[in-house]
Each structure stands twice: as C-alpha cells, then as structure tokens.
Symmetry: C2
Subunit: 251 residues, 2 copies
C-alpha cells in the first residue's frame, strides 16, 4: 500500500499518458446533470489519458459513476486522505472520490487505435443503394442521407411507376420510433412537394406495436435478411504496432 504522497506523485506523472487503474475503498459523489453517490466500498477507478473517469462496480458494462472524455482530473491530499477530482467544463459536472484506502495503482500504456465496426446501418444503406432491386424491382435511388428540415432520410427514390418512395433503414429490430421517423418524413415531403410518397421501413425485424403503427398509417414493411449484415464489409484500417509494455504498480 503506497503512501499518500507516493500515490499522488505516481498518478500525476502518468495521468497524461497512461490508463490508470486504481483499486480503492472510496466514497464517490457525482454532481451535474443529475446526482449520485456511492458509499464507502471497494471500487475500481479507471482514468484514461483523454480525461475519461470511471468508477466501476462488480456488475454491468457501464460505470457506476463517470465523467466523459475531455474532463480534467486532479489528485491531492485532503485531511490525510487521497482525493480524486474529475471536472467537466460544460455541462458543469464534478466527480469526487475520497479514497479511504488505496490498495493498488497501476499505470498502463494502452493503444488508442480506433476500430472499424462492420455491419452498421450505414453499411446496410450503402448495400441497398448498390442493390436497389432488393428494395423493389425497378426502384431508383434519388438521394441518400437526404437532409430535410425534419431529419435525414436514409434513402429517397422512385418506384417503377415513378412514385416517390421514402425508405427508412434499421439494422436491428425496428420500434415505434422508426415508424415515427418514417411518418415524419412522409408528411414532410407531402407538405413540401404536394406529392404523397410511399413510406417503406426496411429492417431485419419489427416490433408488434411498430408494425401496427406502420399498417394503420399506410406504410410498408420490407424484411431484410438478418445475415445480410454479415455480407457487408468495410476495409479495416491498419495500424503499426507500438508495444510499450511499460507500467508500474504497488502491491
């Protein structure tokens, strides 16, 4: 167990460059858009060089308390305790962790490469634009990611009869929100162009209430094969490996 002075020095010297992992009995408070508090208990505190501050419990993927990237972290001794402070400028948010007992501090040099995810909605839209007949025989794409006053239309096109078609795409099960979006776009185009377009929702699945809303508003549904997402691929970015296994810890 490190002395307070050593701990503070160590954290300060690695804040900007390493991912810090602190295992400590702590009391943590969050004040900002909302409020939350944690009683004195052992938690895992993770601080990233981009300012991310997280207090993790033993369950769930999300931290119990956190501050997002861009926050600033401070550490100091107060009343004989080590106190961690994370401050987010806007919106004003503050996380204070009083460390009653510090059992471990590690600093890890971690890669910051982004990873490319394949099979997103954007991929599905791209695939559909390349395969318009999948939507409908004779379908012609006019616009993609078409910005309007009421939002962005995934695909705007015309059917074989020349009628305007609004296509809303979801990569997973579509819910009421998706139908609302589609309705909004159809209404907007009707107002704007004086021509009532068809509205088509494309997704691998749809919830019962969403399907009901769809039908009762004269909209259409096109089920897309779920495996479709696995057919689509993006080029993956290559990064040069920079292994820097330097780290430090107390026991």
């Amino acid at each position: 167990m490190p002395s307070n002075e050593d701990a503070i020095k160590f954290v300060r010297s690695h804040l900007a460059t390493h991912v810090l992992v602190i295992y400590a009995v702590a009391r943590v408070s969050y004040n900002g858009r909302a409020k939350a508090n944690l009683n004195a208990n052992p938690y895992l505190i993770i601080i990233k060089p981009d300012g991310t501050f997280m207090v993790h419990g033993s369950r769930r993927e999300k931290p119990l308390i956190w501050n997002p990237p861009g926050s600033r972290t401070y550490i100091e001794a107060r009343d004989g305790l080590v106190v961690l402070l994370s401050i987010r400028a806007s919106p004003a948010e503050r996380v204070i962790a009083d460390l009653d007992r510090v059992d471990f501090i590690g600093a890890f040099d971690v890669e910051h490469s982004d990873n490319k995810v394949m099979g997103t909605e954007s991929d599905l839209v791209a695939w559909l634009v390349d395969h318009p007949d999948y939507i409908e025989k004779g379908f012609m794409v006019l616009e993609r990611e078409y910005d309007t006053a009421v939002g962005r239309i995934d695909i705007l096109g015309r059917d074989a009869n020349g009628r305007l078609v609004v296509v809303e795409v979801k990569r997973s099960q579509a819910g009421p929100d998706a139908v609302n979006q589609l309705l909004r776009y159809v209404d907007h185009l009707l107002q704007r162009r004086g021509e009532k377009p068809r509205g088509v929702l494309v997704s691998p699945d749809i919830s019962p209430s969403a399907h009901f809303m769809l039908k009762s508003n004269g909209l259409e549904y096109l089920k897309v094969n779920k495996d479709l997402t696995t057919l689509m691929e993006k080029g993956t970015s290559q990064h040069s490996a920079r292994p820097m296994p330097d780290f430090y810890s107390w026991l």
Copy 2:
C-alpha cells in the same frame, strides 16, 4: 510475466468472484450483431463476475470491443498462446482475444452495490404530480405513467376548463423524438376518445426544430427551471461495507 499455465489457473479461479484486469498485447475479434477487429496492440481487458467482458483502449468511455453481462468467459492455451473467449448465448455473439503477451493480471474484489441516481425524468414527473400548479393553475392529474397502445403517457390530466391535457416530460433538452411522442399520444387520444386533448411538452430546454414541430402542430411548451432537478431527492440506499481488499497480481 506469468507463465501461460499460471495465468490460466489464476483467471479461472477468480472469474466468478473478482473483477479481472488483464493488460496484454492482444488481437481481438468480435462477431455477432456486428463485426469488429483489433490489431495486435496493448489493451486493457476487464472481466466482471457477472460476465461482462470489455476491451478498453486509451480513449473514450466505451470499450472498443465487449460482451454484455450474462456472457460466459473461457480461457485456455492454444498454440502456445493464452486465448480468452467470451460467449453470449442470445443473440449469439463471440469475442476472441488472442493474448500475444500478458504483462499483468489482477483480480479485484469489488462492491456490487447499485447506486441511486437523483434527478431522472421519473423524479421530475413525480415532482410535477405533487406540484400540478407548476404545470398550470388549476391543472388536475388524472393518470401518471399511463399506458396506451402507442406508448406510455407521462402525465394525463385536465386543465381548469376541463379539457384533457397530455404532458410529455423530458429531463434534458427535448428533441424531435419528444415531439413525435407527444403527437402520437394526442392523436391516439383523439381517435380513442373523440376529444382532442392539448399536448404539453415539459423540459428544461428544446431544440429549434423540435420547437418548430411543436408549434406547427398546435402543441405547447413549458420550460422547467433546470435547477429543479437539483431540488428533487430520493432516499439513498444504505449498504453495509464489506471491504475485502484481497487481490493478486504478477509483475
């Protein structure tokens, strides 16, 4: 640096009880609802006793790759490497981490207490129900969290003139979705009761396009003081402190 056998043994013996932190040069792949891959680089892998599996980089709050709670973790030697496997049953998802080089493994006994967040939408609704005059002089609450076929109405009430009022509450800036919701509820009640209700959106702020949609549909907006959220408090739960600072690591 632990031997493969020691590392595997250690991880297996702590999987069910401790939060495991592994610092390693790894190649990681995710296959499931989407796909993603990470090149050989140093990452921080965190495994929680509830099955949560996370691969963290040096930036952002969210893991680069993960599996949610309920997944099962396996570890084994394969071709002289340590391989971590996380499997989610439904939907079928798999994370595979090939550990080219393991520099640190720590097992931490972490509290699993929940924390209560104060200042949620639910809190705001509760406060408004207790202070109906804040919404409008003479406002009377009929229902709260009122379930309908098209969604749950936050507050249903009547104004001083006896007219039905649908209130949609947002704890932060309201966007187009909130207006859509409100529209849906108003339409539904009009269909269902043959009586056109007023629709009121209550939030500390509203986006321009949402405000435009609101006005052009004859709906109303009530700005709630942002500080209101800080006035509301919930009882915080008390947990007995169970400090179990037992952990283990290799250097």
